[in-house]
């Protein structure tokens, strides 16, 4: 009986250069690579690494709910593992971050007894730390998917940094080949309850191509508009003020 296995990897953000050594080995050794990447050059490059590469991109249906596409991707990955293939599922960025089919496929194949693992990748947030020169431990770090942030009651700490993923599609649940930030005005409205209008935020996108500069667009919060946003933008909101020190704890720790 054929064995079947699943390895989930991240290709990182930048074409070729962000792939870890262990992920590269997994891609080259797989009997089948199923990929979901953000632009065609990375897809072409994966085909060079392993000619048995197929894209999951075709499972998106334009203007249809994305959750249906993610279920179809999960099923496609699991189907090939059940057929006995050593499958490598490759997602751009980090395969555990904002990636439903990677987690769900792992859960399903493990529940059926197949060997399965996930290897880390370079995420957009990792690139943001480096490109904007930020240390998340300096102020503390809050990180949310933008639509999820909007639709739930969050308790934001304005003394810590805030990152909102996917502002290019905030408020949209359908598959789109271009930006669709239909909830951006609502997002700005929500943030203006926490931050002053002149608070400078940064619209950021890491470059997918080695040696090209990232998009870094500082703008005051009240001016943030669709024209500043790309389909893959992340929003960085710096802390509003310094966190208050607890002198009782400082004394008890003798710091």
């Amino acid at each position: 009986m054929a064995e079947g296995s699943l390895t989930v990897v991240g290709t990182g953000i930048q074409l070729a250069s962000h792939l870890t050594f262990e992920a590269r080995v997994a891609l080259q050794r797989a009997q089948l690579v199923l990929c979901l990447v953000a632009e065609p050059a990375t897809r072409a490059w994966l085909e060079r690494l392993n000619p048995n590469t197929q894209s999951l991109n075709a499972l998106y249906e334009l203007d249809r709910n994305r959750s249906g596409a993610y279920e179809a991707m999960t099923r496609e990955i699991v189907r090939h593992v059940r057929e006995g293939l050593e499958v490598c599922a490759a997602f751009y960025g980090h395969p555990a971050v904002c990636a439903a089919p990677s987690h769900e496929a792992l859960r399903r194949v493990r529940s059926e007894g197949f060997p399965a693992r996930m290897l880390p990748g370079v995420s957009a947030e990792d690139c943001l730390f480096a490109d904007l020169g930020l240390d998340p431990s300096r102020w503390g770090w809050q990180s949310y998917e933008a639509t999820d942030f909007l639709i739930r009651t969050r308790r934001v700490d304005p003394s810590a940094a805030l990152v909102l993923w996917q502002i290019g599609t905030v408020g949209s649940g359908v598959a789109s080949a271009e930006k669709r930030p239909i909830g951006l005005a609502l997002l700005v409205e929500a943030l203006l309850e926490l931050y002053p209008p002149e608070h400078e935020v940064v619209v950021y996108e890491a470059s997918p191509y080695p040696s090209w500069e990232p998009l870094v667009h500082p703008v005051s919060l009240s001016q943030l508009a669709e024209k500043h946003v790309t389909a893959l933008s992340t929003l960085y909101v710096p802390p509003r003020d310094e966190a208050v020190l607890d002198h009782t704890i400082l004394n008890r720790l003798e710091l």
């Binding site: 065609p40 994305r66 971050v97 996917q166 930006k179 500069e213 790309t230």
Partner: protein, 77 residues
């Protein structure tokens, strides 16, 4: 699923640039046999414009529209 293995000259150039770990980007652009408009695009240095051109190249050889979003969405309750 349909194969999307064909790709255009700009994509090929970027793949070669990445594989060669080319440090001098402009020198590589100047030495390439890309069309002048592609050289100009690459030299301008805006990756968003380059990506748009690469997507156009991919569609010209039969690829589907590219979906620019993380594969995650939590449906409203």
């Amino acid at each position: 699923m349909a194969s999307e293995s064909r790709y255009g000259p700009l994509t090929s150039f970027l793949l070669q640039l990445a594989e060669d770990e080319q440090q001098n980007r402009q020198k590589a652009i100047d030495k390439s046999d890309l069309a002048d408009e592609d050289k100009e695009l690459l030299s301008r240095g805006n990756f968003d414009e380059i990506r748009a051109r690469i997507e156009t190249e991919a569609r010209e050889v039969g690829a589907q529209p590219w979906f620019l979003v993380r594969p995650w969405f939590r449906p409203t309750p």
